[in-house]
Subunit: 247 residues, 2 copies
């Protein structure tokens, strides 16, 4: 193992990249221990701090974990769905906030993805999901509920929905996207939205699932998408009006 010091890329980035390749390719398997920092430093012919920076890069991606003490070291980490989901939600959030994505575009993507699993969900839904959705639906009807809690319950409702597909890979992709977009939507629309309207649609989704009617669920999700977009347009129009008034 050796690294090219002539390029202007960081040594730690190169080393991280070559170790990452070993993990992704399967040459290093889950729970396998990497050589100690001192040994890696020798192998790559760099100093220990450089190796450490490389390992921290990998740790930031949850590719390795480290343990102190004798027989400690860096171990290849089994990437959990939870870790992956957290990363995806962060990335998706930043992608939206930093790239001037229009509300309609984000909204369209979120609902297109959710509708993708509606047929599977309707077919496979089990009592556990239905019960969870019922609980959230009732919570959304409570009068003392804060906007934050309503939003959180909204997210929980939709996460329960997609889990109904019984497909962890699908859940991973969708939950990341929903967790990133729902707060954004909430922030924009909470002033104008009617909880009753949303609860009505949610309730209809639930009954569609009970009847295992995928088409009905798809249709309700379309209604929800349209309602959300309409709200956003209303809010934006109001903002524009009040801005023009002050100038």
């Amino acid at each position: 193992m050796k690294i090219d010091p002539d390029t202007n890329i960081d040594l730690s980035a190169q080393i991280a990249s070559s170790i990452r390749d070993l993990i992704v390719s399967g040459a290093l398997i889950v729970d396998e221990r990497l050589p100690s920092e001192a040994e890696l430093a020798e192998q790559f012919e760099v100093s220990r701090p450089t190796i450490r920076e490389a390992l921290k890069r990998l740790a930031a991606q949850s590719l390795i974990r480290t343990q102190r003490g004798a027989f400690g070291g860096a171990f290849v980490n089994r990437l959990s769905y939870d870790d992956a989901r957290t990363q995806l939600a962060t990335t998706a959030t930043l992608l939206l906030s930093m790239n001037e994505v229009s509300f309609d575009t984000a909204c369209e993507a979120r609902f297109a993805l959710e509708r993708a699993c509606a047929p599977l969900v309707a077919e496979r839904r089990e009592e556990a999901q239905l019960a969870k959705m019922k609980v959230e639906l009732e919570k959304q009807g409570e009068s003392g509920l804060s906007d934050e809690d309503f939003c959180a319950s909204d997210v929980a409702f939709h996460l329960a929905l997609i889990d109904g597909a019984q497909n962890p890979v699908l859940s991973y992709h969708l939950s990341g996207s929903i967790e990133a977009m729902q707060p954004l939507m909430n922030m924009i629309t909470y002033t104008a939205r009617s909880r009753a309207e949303i609860i009505g649609i949610h309730s209809s989704i639930l009954s569609g699932m009970e009847k295992q009617d995928g088409d009905a669920v798809v249709h309700d999700l379309e209604r929800l998408e349209n309602y959300t977009k309409k709200l956003a347009h209303t809010v934006m129009a109001e903002k524009r009006a009040s801005r023009e008034k002050t100038t």
Copy 2:
């Protein structure tokens, strides 16, 4: 700014986390310069190597970039779709390889996601996408094409398809998932697959798009999913048979 040294968590992880929060919350905006490593070390009351490890963690997530020299430093990075896609593909690949996801589950998720954008694609597709898909389709018919190149062209075909939705958020989620899963599928099925069969379905997808017939595209994607699953089952049955023969 101060950090708790009494917990078991690395100082560099805590510092990275608190800077990450500033970025995600918008307190630090794109292209804003962070204090120099020496200043950060003073603010957080830790040494420079610890600060550096924290910054490398953030760099690994493409949240910051660094520049050497006077007036250099660490800057909040605008997360590009490309960076985000690369990260998602790596994460999704590892999620599949490390968590014993069945082929059917991965395959189902990949096609459910792709079908999600089929209606949008059919409606909005432009000449650029159609042309790109035509090019790939012709390439797939060339007799001298290696398995690797056929697979790469397959990926390119589907990426062009989803780009037809003209929704970068959707493209991000889908391209990551396709890039992760297609090589996996290829590895499993390349021995048994019939290129003619796949090309036939691709060709049908293309004509559906030309006619802006979303339902037809969805139907063809279902055919492709079923064919892929069937291939995988065949291959696995053969493997099982040869294993039993040797024992």
